[in-house]
Symmetry: C2
Subunit: 303 residues, 2 copies
Amino acid sequence: MIDVALLGTGGMMPLPDRFLTSLMCRLNGRFLVIDCGEATQITMKILGWGFKNLDVVCITHFHADHIAGLPGLLLSVGNSGRTEHITLVGPKGLQKVVESLCIIAPELPFGIDYVELGDDIVEGLQVGGFVIGACLLEHRVTCYGYSINVARSGKFDPIKAAGLGIPKNQWSLLQKNENVFIGDKTYTPDMVLGNQRKGIKVCYATDTRPINRLVDFVSGADLFIGEGIYGSDEKLGKAVEYTHMLFSEAAGIAKAANVKELWLTHFSPSLTCPGEYLDVAKNIFANTALGYDRVNKTIFFEG
Amino acid sequence: MIDVALLGTGGMMPLPDRFLTSLMCRLNGRFLVIDCGEATQITMKILGWGFKNLDVVCITHFHADHIAGLPGLLLSVGNSGRTEHITLVGPKGLQKVVESLCIIAPELPFGIDYVELGDDIVEGLQVGGFVIGACLLEHRVTCYGYSINVARSGKFDPIKAAGLGIPKNQWSLLQKNENVFIGDKTYTPDMVLGNQRKGIKVCYATDTRPINRLVDFVSGADLFIGEGIYGSDEKLGKAVEYTHMLFSEAAGIAKAANVKELWLTHFSPSLTCPGEYLDVAKNIFANTALGYDRVNKTIFFEG
């Protein structure tokens, strides 16, 4: 299982009642955040999951509304007592941008590891306990969408384990995909686990036109968090001009990719009542919900 | 007259119910802001005075809680349609720090003029309609307090003006300290105005120990906005270590400088109920009030 929370749902500028779009994930007590605009640390504080266990921050692109809050967030993580390294993932140039922003945060009590993305599609990037994918989007500047993947091992077979003579107190290690050593014998998980089962996949993509690569990338996701900059299809021209995605376009991606659920986010400040347009998306993809600040859910493994 | 509003009253990090310390002044419809930590633009939006007429931002020092919100604020000022230059005032190195932060705001629709302060005391710095003073404080890094001064010309003497034969429809120009030209004659304001009268002085000083220079600087102010990082005098050791000022110390400055009113601000996040300690300050300087987010008042000329 994984917990996900939308820290904010706005685009362009933080508003008093709508912080900037950002996603926080909690997996086995550790945190990953995607995007960090100005004031993200405030909504994180309201959410209340904490700061110290933040292991990864993924940045989609270098526009201010997606990264301006990073120095403040890192300082608050530092104030929480963290000393372990933190990993930042983002487009090429990430380290230069972060170091430039952090001129006002020169003495962090932890190191930063940088992962700069180059390829159009990145899969299986392991950072701490998180398995991350990335997909190059179509925006005015280099911008990536992300996936967070939680693998689920095969079903444990107690009859096989007993048959092999493995003591019961060692079974949990094998269930956790670790080897067990007894005398000169090594027992590996594949001896007692069935085929790998379907895991959990959460995808996040804002600031993009609805491109085919994105459909492939979010295919079969349990939750797709997608941009809906405007609700009305009449705003298509503007969405094309500024390379953003409409409610209907995000719903089209969700449908084509056969995801389970769509949350809309990254609303324009001019879109004061996103709810007025929810049906535009639901008519295309029924299981669409509007994102709102700090909406969160726990996603469980199937079955 | 001048309007003043404390946009926030916190130190170190923005909290959900307490934004970072910042002062906004409105004079003849134009704005000046002192300090701009993360999320300052949000509380400015709640206050509702607007963004477009922001002519000056004074930065006290380069710690994140006083400047991290600058790129976002400048972008929002740009989005408001401003194209006129804006002036930034701060310690030496200001331009370098701002340009480093603005790596994520590279295309502002207005120019920036920089004023970097060098001397311990700066007086009569005129930026747009504002007359600004600055005072070097005692903090871990170079830090300035600021004063905003509104001059008041002498009383207009209509008998003198009539005696000089100046037409009535020209009087308002002289009252506004402008010359009047009639035929080959020039009439100057000093011909019809009495001695200059007491103006308005607003002072702002956070992140400092209570030094003598500060007493001189805020002398006779109508409003002194001063740091009260902790309420209890038992925290003196910590205040000295981190070069901050206690409630009692700010009140001591207010008393010694014979100001009219003191607002306490820049509360530590650990100080959840500043009100518990208000009397500590009031026992030293009676006309002390606790700052709170967006407290504001109009200060009029005397008499």
